[in-house]
């Protein structure tokens, strides 16, 4: 059975999640990436929408203007690590419970997740149509001056996912753990590839 989080998301629901779990989201999801984070933290300006216990999506969508509103054409995650600088403070300041993006985030965000009882999850990158289909409605648009990718789009979503938990409230960090393994494997693989290639070139 699908595990579904619904906004406003309760702390208990967040605390029960562990890295590698797959969940889906019902409720309010807002897009917030580089410019949005800079505005909230560096400039201290909050959007009009209360963000307590909702979810944010590191994403820049393709949106079509239609009569009386907007239509979501394609939306998918962008690299979450770009928001590493501000995310911890952002979680503390806004009360956001779920951060969705691409790839992992760092130690500072993991601290923030622990302190503010929040998690980071990944939505598979490049799957913009699936995600768009799970957006029931674009409710509002704030900060239009940032342009289409960076504007603060307020979305109502249904069974939005799969979302793979990458940072939980216990300090576990899936991508940071993977990175250690990848670096170990790289040392070994590089040695053998280099040897093969250097020997082959030297044969001339």
């Amino acid at each position: 059975m699908k595990k579904i989080l619904t906004t406003p998301i309760a702390d208990e629901d967040i605390k029960s999640l562990r890295v590698g779990d797959i969940v889906y989201l019902n409720g309010t999801l807002v897009t917030c990436r580089d410019e949005g984070h800079r505005r909230v933290i560096a400039e201290g300006i909050m959007p009009e929408l209360p963000m307590d216990r909702i979810a944010i999506f590191h994403a820049g969508p393709i949106v079509k203007d239609v009569e009386g509103g907007w239509e979501m054409v394609s939306i998918g995650p962008t690299t979450s690590m770009r928001m590493e600088r501000y995310e911890k403070e952002f979680l503390a300041k806004t009360g956001v419970k779920l951060v969705i993006g691409k790839g992992g985030m760092g130690a500072k965000t993991a601290e923030g997740c622990k302190e503010s009882v929040a998690v980071h999850a990944v939505f598979p990158g490049g799957c913009g149509v699936i995600a768009a289909e799970q957006v029931e409605k674009i409710v509002d648009k704030e900060w239009p001056e940032f342009g289409m990718p960076e504007a603060f789009w307020v979305l109502k979503v249904k069974e939005f996912g799969p979302l793979i938990i990458s940072i939980d409230t216990e300090g576990n960090n899936l991508f940071e753990t993977n990175k250690v393994t990848f670096h170990e494997r790289k040392e070994k693989a590089l040695k053998s590839t280099s040897k093969e290639i250097v020997e082959m070139i030297a044969k001339s």
Partner: protein, 299 residues
């Protein structure tokens, strides 16, 4: 048709092709992704592959860009010297870009340099980006269209190494780049490696390598062996789809090279994401066209 009609007709065809490339992955990429999906054994990685294929189906059915980041539109023109519209091609490519941006619709990704304001049209200074190559004396032209998101553009880099660093240094540069930057570039990746004589020749060659159809090998036996060796090495690291960890890291590794100055060895790396949106179309002097990359596709 008059010359103006011809120009309009080429804009029309190319605009539709740019639109198509944003929505349907080319045959070589589809075939390789299908193969890698079958090889995958890890549960989380399989969930991601399922999602990718579901997304490709939906993109085609609903006629929507498969990934929301449709990139800065890039064209690689390989023309015969006698293609009659060569002089107008820059304008034609610009108009085709504007047309596809509206029809697809594509994301507005051209941020004007110095002013840092989104132009709102996907056209700006030197954008669409065009590379020109005069390949022979014929009257045909081949145009390759490429749409790369920011995520897979980010790892791209080149370096000029001293000769004693050699191919060993080059390999370290490639492996470090992929492991440090590849996760956020949406693996499984297409990796292009350029061996050149300066930073830009290496970068250009690496891009050319990345764009080569998957399943082709370099004609030089040593370069072909190098491609296999790097591919095996990178796959042993097992980034998996989205860097979640899995059986593979790459869809392909391609190498291109050139003779280089004895005192330097340039190395370039260009990375393409799994949603590798490249498309090739060929025109003759009458503007009869053939789509090379997407067999059976209609505009």
């Amino acid at each position: 048709m008059t010359a103006i009609d011809k120009k309009t007709s080429m804009v029309e065809i190319l605009g539709k092709f740019v639109d198509l490339v944003s929505k349907e992955l080319p045959d070589d990429v589809m075939a390789k992704l299908t193969e890698l999906r079958e090889q995958e054994t890890k549960p989380l990685a399989k969930v991601i592959y399922d999602c990718m294929f579901d997304n490709m189906d939906k993109a085609k059915k609903l006629s929507r860009p498969t990934c929301q980041d449709t990139g800065v539109i890039q064209y690689f023109v390989r023309s015969g010297a006698k293609f009659p519209y060569l002089g107008q091609l820059r304008e034609i490519l610009k108009e085709a870009t504007i047309k596809a941006t509206k029809s697809a619709p594509l994301r507005l990704n051209a941020v004007e340099v110095f002013d840092e304001i989104n132009t709102g049209t996907n056209v700006g200074t030197n954008v669409p980006y065009i590379e020109w190559e005069i390949v022979d004396d014929s009257s045909n032209v081949e145009i390759e269209i490429y749409q790369a998101g920011g995520g897979c553009s980010l790892p791209g880099r080149s370096i000029v190494l001293p000769p004693l660093a050699g191919y060993e240094g080059a390999m370290k540069f490639v492996f470090d780049t992929i492991v440090d930057w590849g996760i956020n570039a949406c693996p499984p990746l297409v990796v292009g490696v350029g061996i050149g004589t300066c930073s830009n020749s290496s970068a250009v060659l690496s891009k050319r390598a990345m764009l080569r159809p998957i399943g082709t090998s370099h004609p030089h036996p040593k370069a072909a062996a190098m491609e296999i060796s790097i591919q095996e090495g990178l796959n042993a690291i097992g980034l998996g789809p989205q860097g979640i960890s899995g059986q593979n890291t790459v869809m392909a590794v391609h190498v291109e090279g050139m003779a280089h100055h004895p005192s330097v060895l340039g190395v370039g790396v260009t990375v393409g994401c799994w949603a590798n949106r490249h498309g090739m179309i060929r025109f003759d002097k009458e503007l009869n066209y053939e789509i090379i990359s997407h067999k059976g596709a209609h505009l």
